[in-house]
Subunit: 234 residues, 2 copies
Amino acid sequence: MWKTATETDIAEVAAAIGDPSRAKVLRALADGGALPAGALAAEAGVSLSTISGHLARLREAKLLTVEHDGRRRYYRLASTDVARALEELARIARPLPVRSLSDSVRAHALMRARLCYDHLAGQLGVALLAALVDGGVLDGSGGGYRITPAGLGVLGDFGIDAGEFSRRRPAIRYCVDWGEGRHHLAGALGAAVTRRLFELEWLRKGRARRVVHLTDAGRTGLHRTFGVPLDWDA
Amino acid sequence: MWKTATETDIAEVAAAIGDPSRAKVLRALADGGALPAGALAAEAGVSLSTISGHLARLREAKLLTVEHDGRRRYYRLASTDVARALEELARIARPLPVRSLSDSVRAHALMRARLCYDHLAGQLGVALLAALVDGGVLDGSGGGYRITPAGLGVLGDFGIDAGEFSRRRPAIRYCVDWGEGRHHLAGALGAAVTRRLFELEWLRKGRARRVVHLTDAGRTGLHRTFGVPLDWDA
DNA sequence: GGATGACTACGGTGCTCGCCGAAGTGTCCC
DNA sequence: GGGACACTTCGGCGAGCACCGTAGTCATCC
């Protein structure tokens, strides 16, 4: 039932994360995407042989998984838990010096709406979860979230069959977002909603990694479907 | 309003955590207590000079704070955010080999009820928060928790003036506990409740660090006051 | 004021590990 | 099958750092 909660080796994981090159790799994968070794090498600014060693170590620490696809290997975060831990670390880490104007533009965009692993985060993610609860799609009482019977219908109309979720992954999880104590939607439902938002082109990927933009169709669509305020970003 | 969310230096913090000796220090302080350098040296199994260097580094990384008290210096986790990040890392870390029987006894006790920084965690913490929501003390809808008007009264009778909470610390936070997607109560309220539980001797510190035990008085008291089931640990 | 205790600062030693280039392995394309 | 491509493994170099013992700095106690 409960995982056997012996002490765990924090030092090992932390050491695995605690190298500039490896941290860059993890951040590049924080949107839940998969990238081949070459791209990650470029991202981290090191040689292919070096990145290969780093990737082996991250894999050893169970932070990454590999998917073989022909002659290339796509690396991906091992789980949403990893993404969570990374965001939590980012909270307590000191800010990197802002190097350029585009950095601060990107920072602002990330704050508004970004991908955290495979689901929506940032202010938009928070606003969406709040709207789902206010609109009765989710029941937020009881120390967690549950899909209500009414909510099943709303989600079905939106194109999501919540009954189809795999047993392995919790249907609903939440990530703690920037700005004390606000949630955004994660878990299988968070991922499904986000995927559907892209399908409908209510959401579009920004040029910078992890950044997403709400389209005009998305703004009105989210308002009509889930009651997200039109001025959520005011 | 929102913190300026530029990229943060995950690698620096993670590297600070990612050393066996430093990780032991952090784990020893994870219950929110404060310990002098000598005790931490013993805990980590290194010399005083070595621990001094480690403590300086942890302080530099803003993970620890020091309080001077005469000729000794007490070290403490810098914030609840740090405790959170550590628990999150513990989630994804591989379990350390169980070395002895007492280890596994302790692991079991930790799972049942433990301190996470300054508030209650483990199955008991989860059960308490659930009871507070079910009993209407907290309102769990809306993507967070709020104290209800009725709840203010219940808490007052219990000996907690929730109006007195400082503005600096959020009244209510939650930590994600072991076992997918359950919360336990944190924040100023979590700390106040826990403090009061010790005052009333409903809760007693166990022999092992972080472990706490519910007394018989506590079991019935929590049931009558907040509606925690008598068989929460069944 | 001098002795004791708690810690920090310094100097030195050895090991780990991040880095690269070169060579090896597996995959795809022509 | 041969060659290009994507990556991993190997060997070697250099820097960083975890560790200790010793010496220095405060604060307390007598």
